[in-house]
C-alpha cells in the first residue's frame, strides 16, 4: 500500500472526544486515488507509485497536455487532473500495486496515526513586516517619529559592514509557498464519504489540493502501562 494520498481541504470544525474534550479538526476529502504507474528500482532507480486524483471527463480532456494523456492511455485508466508520485523507503510497503488499482482513505490510513500534510499556503500578496515576519513595530502612542508604527526599524549597522545583510527580513511577497505541517493526528476516517479528520490546521484555502503522507518522523510508540507494585507491609 502506498503511504500517501492526494486530498482536498474541506474546512475546519470542532468535535468532542469520548472524554468530552473539544478538539479543532480539519476535514479532508482524501482520495480515492488511482495508481497510474508503478516505478521499480531496476527500471527507474527507485520504488514509487504515481497516483492520479480528480477525474476529468472527455469533454475537458483538452485541459491536459497530449503527453499526459499518453501516460493515462498507457496505464489504461481514466484521465486525472492531479498526479503525485509517492516514494517509499521499503518496497514491501507497495506490495503488488499495479496501474489501475484504486486506493481509498481507509486502505492507506488508520485511526490515531500521525500524518504530514503538504499544501500551498494562502497568498497574502505584498505584505509588510508585521504580517510577514511577525515584527512588533514601534510604539503606537508615544516616542515615535511621524507615521513609523508598522515599519521594520533599522536594517543594518554603520560604515562596517556598510551594506544590508542578505536575507534581512523586509516587506515583500508572502504566501503561495509549499508548506508541510508535520505530525497531525488522524481523528476520524469515514470510508464511504472519503473523509478524514486531522487535528489542527493545514495549509491553504478550502477546496485546495493537499498531499497527505504518513508522518516522516514516525508513529508514536504505544504507551506502556506503568506497573505499580504494592508496597510491602511494614514488619511489626
Amino acid at each position: 500500500m502506498a503511504t500517501g494520498l492526494l486530498a482536498k481541504k474541506v474546512g475546519m470544525t470542532q468535535i468532542f472526544t469520548a472524554e468530552g474534550d473539544c478538539k479543532a479538526v480539519t476535514v479532508l476529502e482524501v482520495g480515492p486515488c488511482t495508481v497510474i504507474r508503478r516505478k521499480s528500482k531496476e527500471k527507474d532507480g527507485y520504488d514509487a507509485v504515481v497516483l492520479g486524483f480528480g477525474a476529468i471527463d472527455e469533454k475537458h480532456a483538452h485541459r491536459i497536455s497530449k503527453g499526459e494523456i499518453g501516460v493515462f492511455k498507457k496505464a489504461g485508466t481514466g484521465l486525472f487532473r492531479h498526479l503525485q508520485e509517492v516514494r517509499v523507503k521499503d518496497v514491501k510497503l507497495l506490495g503488488d500495486l499495479k496501474a489501475g488499482d484504486v486506493l481509498t482513505v481507509d486502505k492507506v490510513f488508520k485511526l490515531d496515526q500521525r500524518v504530514d500534510v503538504t499544501g500551498v499556503t494562502k497568498g497574502r500578496g505584498f505584505a509588510g513586516v508585521f504580517k510577514r515576519w511577525g515584527m512588533k513595530g514601534a510604539a503606537r502612542d508615544s516616542s515615535t517619529a511621524h507615521e513609523h508604527h508598522r515599519h521594520p526599524g533599522a536594517i543594518g549597522q554603520r560604515k562596517t559592514p556598510g551594506k544590508v545583510w542578505k536575507g534581512k527580513h523586509l516587506p515583500g511577497h508572502y504566501g503561495v509557498d509549499i508548506q508541510t505541517v508535520q505530525n497531525l493526528f488522524v481523528e476520524g476516517i469515514e470510508a464511504d464519504k472519503n473523509i478524514m479528520l486531522v487535528t489542527g490546521a493545514v495549509p491553504g484555502h478550502a477546496d485546495g489540493l493537499l498531499f497527505v503522507n504518513t508522518a516522516s518522523k514516525g508513529q508514536p510508540r504505544t504507551k506502556q502501562k506503568q506497573v505499580t507494585r504494592e508496597r510491602s507491609k511494614p514488619k511489626v
Partner: protein, 127 residues
C-alpha cells in the same frame, strides 16, 4: 458537496435536547463530573451573560456569585459533559451581552422578570 461533509460531521456532535437560550436566562446546567471511575451530576446555576452562536460550535457563559465571589463558566452548548440545561426563568434584559453585571453587587445585580410566569409563557413570540 464539500460543505455537506462538514455538516455531516457536525451533525454527529449536535444534541437535540438543548433548549432555546438567551442572555438574561437563569439556567441550571447539569454537568457530569468524573471522580475516579464514578460519575455524578453537579448543577451550576446562574445567569447567561453571553452567548455565541455558531450552531454546533456555539457556547454560552453562565455567571453566578458564589460566597461573594463572582464565578463565570463557559459551556460549549453541545458538550457531552452537559447532562441537560434547565431554563429557570427569563430575565428582562435589553442587551445580548450582560457584562455590566460584573460591576454590580447584591440587589443591584438582580434582573427583573415576570414572577410566577412559566418558562413557556415568557418565550418571545416568533416573528
Amino acid at each position: 458537496m464539500l460543505r455537506n461533509a462538514i455538516a455531516h460531521i457536525e451533525a454527529k456532535y449536535t444534541k437535540s435536547n438543548v433548549p432555546a437560550l438567551r442572555a438574561g436566562d437563569q439556567v441550571k446546567v447539569h454537568t457530569k463530573i468524573k471522580e475516579g471511575d464514578k460519575e455524578r451530576i453537579q448543577i451550576f446555576e446562574g445567569v447567561i451573560i453571553a452567548k455565541r452562536e455558531g450552531g454546533p460550535r456555539g457556547n454560552f457563559t453562565v455567571r453566578k456569585v458564589s460566597y461573594g465571589v463572582g464565578v463565570e463558566r463557559i459551556f460549549p452548548t453541545h458538550s457531552p459533559r452537559i447532562d441537560k440545561i434547565e431554563v429557570v426563568n427569563h430575565g428582562d434584559v435589553r442587551r445580548s451581552r450582560l457584562f455590566y453585571l460584573r460591576d454590580l453587587k447584591g440587589k443591584a445585580a438582580r434582573l427583573t422578570h415576570d414572577e410566577g410566569a412559566g418558562v413557556e409563557a415568557v418565550v418571545p413570540p416568533q416573528p
